[in-house]
Symmetry: C2
Amino acid sequence: MNYFSSNFKLGILGGGQLGKMLLTETRKFDIYTCVLDPSAEAPSKIACNEFTQGDLMDYETVVNFGKDVDVLTIEIENVNVNALETLEKQGVKVFPSSKTLKIIQNKAKQKLFYVDNNIPTANFTRFAYLSQIEDAIDNGGLHLPFVWKAAQFGYDGNGVKVVRSKADLTDLQDGECIAETLIPFKNELAVIVSRNVKGEVSTYPVVEMEFHPEANQVEYVICPARIGTKIAHKAQDIALEVSKAFNHVGLLAVEMFQTQDDQILVNEVAPRPHNSGHHTIESSFTSQFEQHLRSILDLPLGKTDNKVAAVMVNLVGAEGHSGDVIYENIEDIMAMDGVTPHIYGKRQTRPFRKMGHVTIVNEDLNEARQIAEDVKNLIKVIS
Amino acid sequence: MNYFSSNFKLGILGGGQLGKMLLTETRKFDIYTCVLDPSAEAPSKIACNEFTQGDLMDYETVVNFGKDVDVLTIEIENVNVNALETLEKQGVKVFPSSKTLKIIQNKAKQKLFYVDNNIPTANFTRFAYLSQIEDAIDNGGLHLPFVWKAAQFGYDGNGVKVVRSKADLTDLQDGECIAETLIPFKNELAVIVSRNVKGEVSTYPVVEMEFHPEANQVEYVICPARIGTKIAHKAQDIALEVSKAFNHVGLLAVEMFQTQDDQILVNEVAPRPHNSGHHTIESSFTSQFEQHLRSILDLPLGKTDNKVAAVMVNLVGAEGHSGDVIYENIEDIMAMDGVTPHIYGKRQTRPFRKMGHVTIVNEDLNEARQIAEDVKNLIKVIS
C-alpha cells in the first residue's frame, strides 16, 4: 500500500489534544485524515482533511464514519467497540483491535487478562456493585486500605480512589468495580511499546513519574527514569510481554509500579499515544505520534533513543479559576533553555483541567529537572 | 499581547510547503491563522483556520486579506509590496517589512544594499536590458565568465546562469539583471539569523551545502558545516551584520560563499524559513519555524544549538517522470536510523520539482552523511 499521495484514508476516533498531535505528524507524511468527534470545537478540526461531528459511543455513527476509511485508530478508549467489530468484518483495519479495546475498556477484564497471561499485577477482587465491597469489608474478605477502581469509563484520575475507611466509600459511583491492594511503590514507571502490523517491535526508554511529596500528584514525567539498568530492562521486558499478549498493533503505553523490593507490577495500559510519551516530540529520534503512525500503517518503526534528556510538566487549570484562560508568565518560561509549551487550545479553564503541557529538554537530565521546577513555579493557568 | 487563546490573528502570504511547516508550529502555540494563496489546492489549506484563495501580487487582494490580521508574514517573497506598505500604515505588523522586501525582491537593489552597508559580496554590474550585457562584453567592460542573474522573480535556480560565452545569453529572459563575478568558492555556507521585535538576536549553526562533484547541484545540506571555528564565527558575524542592516524581524537566511582564501561573501538572503534550515525540525532545540513565530510575535527566542548532527536531502522529481507521484523505496529509507521523510503533498511530479525533503539525524555527523548518501541512492521520486 502506498500511503504517500495516494487515495488512502486514515480515520481517527476522537479529535482532542492527542488527535491534534497525531494529525501534526500526518502532515509530514501527507496522509489523508478523517476525524470523528462529538464537539464542533474539537482541537483536531482544523488539522484534518474531513471532520465529522458525532457520538463516539453510537454504533451507527461509528460504522458510518469508519466504512469510508482504510485504517481506523483512536485517541480515546471510550468508543463503540461493537461498531469496530463490524468494521473489522467489513475489511477496515482497526488498530487497536476491537478485541484489545474490549479488554482495556473494562478494568476488571484488563486485570483478569494480566492474570491469565502471567503478567505481574497487584492483587485485586472484582465486585458487581459497591454494596458488595461494604459486605466484603464487614465479613473480613477485604482489608483496608485498598484502591477502588470503577471498571468502566474512568479517566484522568476519575474513577480511582484510595479507600482507607468505610466512610471513603460514600461518594463513589455504584456499579462494577475492583478493589486492588494498595502498593507502597518506590517509583511509578511507564514504557511505551510500539508494534507494527508485520510484528516489528520497539520500546521507548523507561519514564518515571515523580510525585509531589505532599499532594501525591504526578508533577514531572522524567525520561530516562532515574533507575538502575537492571530494573529498566525488567520494566521494558514486562511491557513487551503485555504488548505481545494483546498481539497489539500501534502504541501501547504500559504504566507500572516499582515496588519496595524491586518487583514490577503492571498498573494499567493505554493502547494509543499517551501523556507519558509527550516528551518524545522534543527528546526522541521519533516522536510517539510518528511511531504510532508508522506502526498502524505497517511502516518500519523509527529509532526510539533519546537525543537529549527530557522532563514533561502538565499544564492544568489552577484551583479557584474558571473561565477564559490566561497562561500567566508563559513568555518567561519560553525564555528558558530548551523549554517548549504545547497549548491545547481549550478556551475555558477549570480547576485541574488539562490545558497543555511543557517539555524541557537538555543534554543533562538534572539540569532539565531543575528548569522544570522553575517552569512549574512560574507558569499559572488562570482566568 | 497574549497570543495564546486570544483573539489574535496571524496572516501568512503563501500556502506552500514552507507555510505548511510554519502552520504545524502554530498548532503547538494555538495561534489563529489565516492563509492567502492563489491555489485552491495549497498544502496549507487544511492546516490553517481561514483560507483565502487569491493573487499574492494583487494590491486589493493582499490589502483586503491583511487588514483583518494582527501580524502578517510571508512564505514567499513575490508578494505585492505596495499592499504591505498600506497595511503597515494601517497598523498591521508586517514581518518582514515592506522596506526589506522591496530590497530583497530585486537582486540589483539587494546587491547595492550590501555595498552601501559594507557587507562583503561578489563584484557585480547592473544592466537594464540583456542587450547591454552583449555591448559590455564587446567593448571590454565585462569579462567572461560571469554569473547572470535576473533582477526579479528568480526562484529555485531559475533566473541564474553561469555565462561562459556569448552563446549562453541566447535563452535568457530580457529585462533588468546583474552580471556577477564568478567566485571559485571552497564552500557554499548558510546561516539563519532570527531577530524578534524587541531586538533579541540569535544565529543557528553554520550549514554547508555539499555539491555533487559532476552535476554541480546541491546534494546535501550539512549541519554543522565541516569548517573551522574561526571561519564559522566569521560567517555568523557577517550574517548578523546583514540582519542588523535590514533591521530585520523574523528569520533571515543568509547564503554565503567561502572563497579559496577564506573570505566570506554574501550571495543572497531569504527573509523567511528556508530550505537550509529544514533540518532544524529534527536536529535543533528550536525548529526554524518555531523560531520565526517566536520572532514575529516578539516572544523570547529559543535555543538554536543542535541536539544532534543533521544532513538534509531534497526530494526532487526524477528526470523523465511527469505525472502522479510515487515515492519509490520510501519504506526502505524509513527503516534506516534517524531518517525522517517530509512529503509536501504535491500530487504530480515533474523533473526537478521539489516534492519533499528527508532529514537524517545522528550523534555522529559522518554517520549521518553516510546514511544520507544511502538515502539519496535509494529513494526515487517517479511517476
